[in-house]
Symmetry: C2
Subunit: 258 residues, 2 copies
């Protein structure tokens, strides 16, 4: 069975042109099948401010009205995606920018309004791997932004971590899939201020303790939830850490295990 | 030999949501292989104004500095492209949004600075059909925006009419290609104020007279130049008119002939 690496990068790389350039150069050299998933970083917020569109956040989540959806679509699927693709091509990595609408790859539904109306935010319903597989077989790397659609003509803002997990899960029957979350820290840290306190392995057992002790909190909770979802659905390897975990054998990172 | 239709739509369709929706519904039903190329309409200018980026035009051509290139990339490759793709998917037309950077499909070079510095504007150098063909063979319709790249990591703003012509030309060895320019008039008009004065055929012979008489002027000159280029390079059919020429047998339009 061939291997497929699904690699998600976040704002710490996206927002820093020099870091992004360096990452893409390394990424281009990764052998075998790979998919890149990128978040949006701070650019969408910056653009919204320039356009005098108020940024509404509840519990760290963006409320996506029509204007905000337009901003996100422009920034994620336009500026960031196409700049990543042209850079990858310059490093001889054949790539195509994707949203979930392209090839009808990721269908989502608008999050139901309960205590909060998140607006045009989508929860993933299903993944159709056909078009992506066609490209992977043609030695082309899909680059995904964090936008999905309803298949009824509506784009939806969707969590990039979830998109990465769902893509990895969707391919487990075809490939031995691995999921890598690159972020600003060397992994899940026992002590958030100590980069040397990386927890090597997180399992269902120590996870509970880590949550109870407050070691895993805030944004790490949904990230870990995506990790466990991927592991439960047979993704063969799930790791969290700095992008160096992909390129440097001596790099420390956290592996999530069943 | 299979047929391939390359269809370019302009601002008159893009800028009108109801018209765009109706066009895409009809477009989705077109049988056989097809590529859609879209211009940007007025949205890029609107966004630039909102962001207080001055719009600089010389002889009707946009001067593209870095900020303007970002706006164009966001609007063309982001908002317009992804909205077209999701709408097409809702009409069961399998599609993927493309720029020239995706799949390294359209490589251009920055227009040399002579009397005018157009900035990040690209003239097409070559077309690599590999990725697009992979999709066409998979029954997927590529949707192109008017952005190309240098293959050295630089995106470039490129004329949508030219992109359509270059794509049609690039496929002549594989398919019997047809090129359709949809715009706001029923074709090239003998009298610009009379929609019934459509010139059925334009050949190299009557073209000279039409230019001399001022019937073909301004924006029609480069459009016709693209048409003759396509015809000279064995595109089998080149037509200009309203989008109805694609769907309605009784529609009038102009055919460009050798």
């Amino acid at each position: 069975m061939k291997k497929l690496k699904v690699i998600k990068i976040g704002g710490n790389i996206i927002d820093n042109p020099a870091e992004l350039q360096a990452f893409l150069k390394d990424f281009a050299r990764i052998k075998g099948l790979k998919i890149l998933v990128h978040g949006g970083g701070k650019l969408a917020t910056k653009l919204a401010k320039k356009m005098n569109i108020p940024v509404k956040m509840i519990d760290g989540r963006r409320i996506t009205d029509q204007e905000t959806l337009d901003v996100i679509t422009m920034v994620y699927a336009g500026k960031i995606s196409k700049n990543i693709v042209t850079k990858l091509q310059s490093f001889n990595c054949h790539s195509v920018g994707f949203s979930g609408a392209d090839g009808n790859t990721i269908v989502s539904e608008k999050r139901p309004v309960e205590s909060v109306d998140y607006g045009f935010v989508g929860d993933v319903v299903c993944v159709d791997t056909t078009t992506v597989e066609l490209l992977l077989n043609g030695n082309i790397t899909p680059v995904f932004c964090a936008i999905t659609h309803t298949k009824k003509g509506q784009l939806l803002n969707t969590n990039a971590d979830t998109i990465a997990a769902e893509l990895a899960i969707a391919f487990v029957k075809k490939y031995k899939t691995e999921l890598y979350y690159c972020f600003e820290k060397s992994g899940v840290l026992e002590n958030i201020n100590d980069e040397n306190s990386v927890i090597d392995n997180i399992t269902k057992e120590n996870y509970k303790t880590l949550v109870t002790n407050g070691v895993i909190a805030d944004g790490m909770l949904p990230k870990l939830s995506n990790c466990f979802d991927a592991i439960a659905k047979n993704v063969s390897k799930v790791c969290i850490g700095k992008q160096s975990m992909l390129f440097d054998e001596n790099s420390k990172f956290t592996t999530i295990k069943a």
